[in-house]
Symmetry: C2
Subunit: 324 residues, 2 copies
């Protein structure tokens, strides 16, 4: 199930916004066991968006398109998709109603423009999650490489191989995109790919060794894991955050994956000794604060040179721990 | 002069690293007056890198390739480029010597692998700037769309249109990439594009109005500028950093561009009043510190809730002002 990502928006090409969405999606696809081979950024230009869609549909089974779903005239992802599919856009009354009521609940008049967001290509379905005004779309497409989409009811050229492709469209607003990816896209991709396995991972946070030093300490175990293939290890040098050792395991279900991870952790930790200071999203600050809490100690900080940086990191961590 | 960017590295696709390089390059290309229409990320896979190079050479005049220049076996940008060019790689003795002396100056033995970095495709030239061990490359290519490169000395197919393309290869390490972009790539692109104009810009940092509020305050002036076309204005909402108003001007030389910017600033500032608190890379902290300095005042900070954040921002700014 080859999947690729197309991010739409001139602001991405101009570097006014860094495309963190594609990075996040790439990570989620990897964790879900879905291959992703290309990520493309393209500006708000009809011809180039269309070229990017056609190329992606020629070479990948699934395409995730991110962005270009806003209410203004330069947001044309919907229109280009319908054109590539060879279908019309029709107003989806339920989406229109949802958008109207969003504006009403904020006591704001709805600009007519916003109804553009309720237009859906014939044959595509809205993604159920819709945290903002922009609806996401799932568009199954019958595709012939080098030819294009076979419109609903149309016959493919004689002898042509018809491929089942799917395009997902999600908004560029990060929390909207994430909700749709988690709620619909990733699961749908796994279902189509026949991925029944579940992939889980845990990060051991380490401090005090270089990446090559860690690789040396774990060399024997890495060789064994390379041969077995599951779980896998990855090192990620993260600057001031130390070096992360990620254990990733695949199982028939989540419980089996976690069992493999727990077993692997039990092998690695004796080898790593006290280099491991925390797990997953915990960091040096939360580790220090947890230890202080355990000992019933409080901490006063007087800083020079670092000018409040230590206090800032510690208090941010404390706030996160309280909120969590 | 259509230019596109190809970023190479599986870690980019997996989201382990956010591709800030492409964003930065996109911004620099825009400021240099060079069109850039696509940015593609591709993993460390020969076939897919080759496909990405061929596609880029088919549709763009210039291609900037970033990454895949390291010393290890999975860094294959050099090899794929030579293959696409239809030429051999040869050892560049001067680069080899430079790499050897870098290791010698750190009293470290040079792994033989590192000499891979001194291999250059026949017909390509090393980029003079080489802050790390990875040399950048400038590779002029004679290209026939849909066919490929015409190797040096070879004849193009009869009747084929031969296009002059150029590929720049720069390392993925940000400061190395930037030094090569600023030192060689951007200037070379402008020369090839016949861009004789110089583009300069200044940012007015504002606080206290929304983006649409600013647009309303400046509406009349924006209309005038839209008609004249030079200079141009752009708004950039930057969260806690306020909203940036960027004036960009094109001139026959730098002095002319700055003259236009100064004149435009003199028009805008009376309209914006005291919303403008700083310019370019200065921010709220440096503005406050400069004002305190002017008044001969010192500042003590006692923080709750923000837990050192204010002290941290102020002291970072102070350090930057001293260093600057």
């Amino acid at each position: 199930m080859k999947t690729e990502i197309v991010a739409v928006g001139t602001e991405l090409l101009l570097g006014q916004i860094v495309d963190t969405n594609s990075s996040w999606m790439g990570e989620q696809l990897a964790l879900a066991g879905i291959d992703s081979h290309y990520q493309t950024k393209v500006g708000d230009n009809w011809d180039r968006i269309e070229d990017a869609f056609r190329l992606a549909l020629d070479r990948s089974d699934a395409v995730i398109v991110c962005g270009g779903l806003g209410p203004t005239q330069d947001d044309i992802t919907r229109e280009v998709l319908a054109s590539v599919m060879g279908v019309e856009l029709v107003l989806d009354e339920r989406i229109a109603e949802r958008i109207r009521s969003m504006f009403a609940s904020r006591s704001r008049p709805m600009p007519e423009n916003n109804l553009r967001q309720a237009m859906v290509p014939v044959g595509a379905s809205p993604i159920p999650q819709q945290p903002g005004t922009a609806p996401g779309l799932v568009a199954p497409i019958r595709w012939v490489q080098g030819v294009g989409a076979i419109a609903p009811g149309a016959e493919p050229p004689a002898g042509a191989e018809v491929l089942d492709r799917v395009v997902y469209v999600v908004p560029g607003v990060p929390y909207e995109m994430r909700e749709m990816m988690n709620g619909t896209v990733l699961g749908d991709l796994q279902r189509r790919a026949g991925v029944s396995a579940t992939i889980e991972s845990r990060v051991l946070r380490t401090w005090g060794q270089s990446e090559s030093g860690l690789a040396e300490m774990l060399a024997g175990r890495i060789d064994e894991l390379d041969e077995a293939g599951n779980p896998t290890l990855a090192f990620l040098a993260s600057g001031i955050e130390g070096i992360k050792v990620r254990i990733t395991a695949k199982g028939a279900d989540s419980a089996e994956a976690w069992q493999l991870i727990d077993a692997e952790q039990a092998v690695l930790e004796p080898l790593l000794g006290d280099l491991v200071f925390a797990y997953d999203d915990d960091n040096m600050e939360t580790a220090v604060l947890a230890e202080l809490g355990r000992l019933g100690l409080t901490l006063g900080v007087a800083e020079t040179i670092t000018g409040g940086r230590m206090a800032n990191r510690l208090s941010s961590a404390e706030a996160a721990m309280r909120a969590g």
